[in-house]
Symmetry: C2
Subunit: 455 residues, 2 copies
């Protein structure tokens, strides 16, 4: 078994997000020795909590799960972390559109019937198209070439008639992919939707991907897994070089060097491309890392003495056509206090606001909160933000996106091992791609892949 | 003046291609101290020669220049390297289309008049569209959003009627950009064409961007500049980390550490993204490096005892609709002997053939040469190939391309300095982008930018 002093193991894992941690956990369960190298001084990757006093925390990274995301739920269950419903199923939600505020209930904001019909019809049509895409190899879909050659913006321009429907779909792309419709190919957009359970599921709360949260925060699951793994996990250990030869791999980082039979690189492609490889990566793999940028998200939590909106019969959820915050949720701890509103700045807005000052962002965010929930929302006792694009070891969220042309050209390199180097991470999943659940799936797959090849 | 032992200079330059060398040369001319760090054991970047015996060389990287590319011509003149015309202006060229071989003369292959009309009309229309794009800031063009939201493939599908015209345009994209039409946005394609002097110029030989070659090879210009710079240029010095604070920059590489007031990073964005920065890069700059992949080219030279095609009245040029080699040129030394045919595998073909064996590539390349020039072409005395995507410190050629959505989202970060870090490289040029001439322009601009800020 690896100890803190060990400099060799059967498998070296790069990255202690859910993909890397799951890989390690699976391998250890089979009696294999593992060393996990994590660049940051913490585990969890794109999943992170921050304390808000009295022993409570708030999620500042990935946080939601939904029905059918069985792998992350099983992992959480295995380490004793419970999930609980996102607040507000029975309450009124707010919508802000064309300069007017209104409340609504149920899954879809009230709107004029013609627009709603076009929007729902569009979602159905896209989900039908997505149904022909094999999630194991979307580049082999019958219309792969045609759909990868166009951006989703191009598809909208050619297929949607009303500006309202385009605006709705833009909001969906920003909310789910954290990019603008021109940033992603139609094929990738459809593949991701299919892998995740459809656009209605991905945008939904009750019955959808935002249904449940983890008590103590999603990072608690990663922390508990890390406690199991003990000294196998090494923090503040950024990997700089991976060398391989017939006998094994050597992984070098700042002040460290470990050896293994194989290595699993469990970080997004764009970050994997920043590692030096000996020998260098083959063309297709390198091209993949050159052209799979991360989405852009700034997540902002405002902490209040109490969830005052609940007293007014409100859910804390808002959808808006006016940024920078176009979505909010009640993000209070399970206990119900303190009150927390969370809002997201996504896509182009996130890129722009990334170069603003924190004071400017705070003002813009709280301005949105106030617009949706009144003057009390403008005066939180604490404001906590996280710009995931500025995080050196994420460089964006929620996940990688594939611009036009990329999935067909380079998709096959996503999971293809390069000698003794294997790939994990939610970007390599075939279900729940981009979600914690996909990260766990990728770790299970990578562990099985490596196990079959170990001496 | 910097010496081999110096560990500090006014300016540190990363990369000894034409951009970095020009930056250094301009700064030295103004009396500034410079250290140039080059990852490879040679200078020239994407420009390289290889010996073919008897003191002669063949270009295996960038090699051509044309009228109006005054900066590279001036630099060559300054260091005493002459240019000479590409062979074959008066000879017959070959074309292979729909399985048939034919010869033609002049700039455009013979084809049926309707197709020719559509093709020429398309080029004219694209050049007219390109005329509205300001090369200093293409993201501000009147139709920037619309044109960046679509791939060039999407534009072709919507605007070209005949398969023949689409096939012609595909060949243009492969030849000029080394990618497929779905890999590049309409806006970037037009910007690059405008910056380079128009599509007819970029695809042309006499009067175009393939008009002239350098006697002794294009790398000779870089080598001569390096001789002037002397020990300021340090080879085999890959840069791994750039740190900056209020007092200056520190540049760390494998076994080296140098300091300067400022640093000019003169490598393509995707490679610049692999350097670690302290502090980390701002979001937009990092996003740029995540989404500007290099094109894909394999360049193959076949050496014969003599340029036998010349004796048959042929130029050695072929255009073909059938890959993997769709273009050839006579690449014999200025003296006319030995005979050299050069062919290009580009875009998708290059990505595919990158994972073939050299024997498979050789067979495929020589098969094409034989198809165009007969059985003697199948039996060279030497075969020399270079897969630029496999080169660790280029990772593709001819240059970076911008997929849909990227130029509008991230283009502004191309030249914007980040504190004491400045950017050069042909990708940052506003004229002859992607060409040696653009690299020189970028070096001149970066040197002027830095000079204005030095103590």
């Amino acid at each position: 078994m690896a100890t803190a002093q060990a400099n060799a193991a059967d498998v070296v894992v790069v990255g202690a997000g859910f993909a890397g941690l799951t890989t390690a956990r699976e391998l250890v369960a089979k009696g294999r020795s593992v060393i996990v190298l994590e660049a940051r001084d913490r585990v969890g990757g794109r999943v992170l909590v921050q304390p808000i006093g009295n022993g409570q925390v708030v999620d500042v990274g990935g946080q939601w799960t939904g029905p059918g995301q069985d792998r992350i739920l099983a992992l959480a269950g295995a380490v004793g972390v419970e999930s609980f419903p996102t607040y507000g199923a029975e309450a009124q939600h707010m919508q802000y559109r064309d300069g007017a505020l209104a409340s609504y209930s149920g899954p879809v904001p009230d709107t004029d019937p013609a627009l709603l019909t076009e929007f729902v019809g569009t979602i159905q049509r896209l989900d039908e198209m997505a149904a022909e895409i094999p999630t194991e190899a979307p580049w082999t879909a019958p219309h792969a070439q045609e759909w990868d050659a166009q951006t989703f913006q191009g598809w909208m321009d050619a297929n949607l008639t009303s500006d309202g429907a385009k605006a709705f779909m833009r909001t969906v792309i920003e909310a789910v992919y954290a990019v603008e419709p021109h940033d992603v190919s139609l094929l990738y957009m459809l593949f991701y939707a299919r892998a995740g359970g459809g656009l209605m599921y991905l945008t939904g709360t009750e019955g959808g991907a935002q249904q449940d949260r983890f008590d103590g925060g999603a990072q608690l699951v990663a922390i508990k897994v890390t406690e199991e793994l003990g000294e196998r996990v090494r923090l503040s250990a950024p990997v700089r070089r991976i060398s391989q030869d017939a006998s094994g791999v050597q992984v070098d980082g700042d002040g460290l060097s470990v050896r293994g039979q194989r290595v699993v690189v469990a970080i997004p492609p764009t970050l994997a491309g920043r590692i030096e490889y000996r020998p260098a990566m083959p063309t297709l793999r390198d091209q993949l890392t050159q052209r799979t940028p991360m989405g852009s998200v700034i997540k902002a939590n405002a902490i209040y003495d109490e969830p005052f909106w609940r007293l007014e019969g409100l859910s804390g959820r808002a959808v808006s056509d006016t940024g920078p915050v176009k979505f909010t949720f009640d993000n209070s701890p399970r206990s119900g206090g303190p009150g927390v509103l969370v809002g997201f700045i996504e896509g182009g807005d996130a890129r722009r606001f990334s170069s603003a000052t924190e004071a400017e962002r705070r003002q813009a965010v709280l301005g949105c909160f106030e617009r949706y929930f009144g003057p009390r929302a403008a005066k939180p006792r604490k404001y906590i933000e996280r710009d995931w694009s500025a995080e050196e070891y994420s460089r964006g969220c929620y996940g990688a996106v594939f611009p036009a042309g990329t999935l067909v050209s380079c998709g096959a390199a996503l999971r293809e091992p390069v000698g003794r180097i294997h790939w994990a991470g939610t970007e390599t999943a075939t279900a729940s791609v981009g979600y914690m659940d996909g990260a766990v799936q990728s770790g299970e797959r990578a562990a099985a892949e490596v196990l079959a090849l170990l001496n």
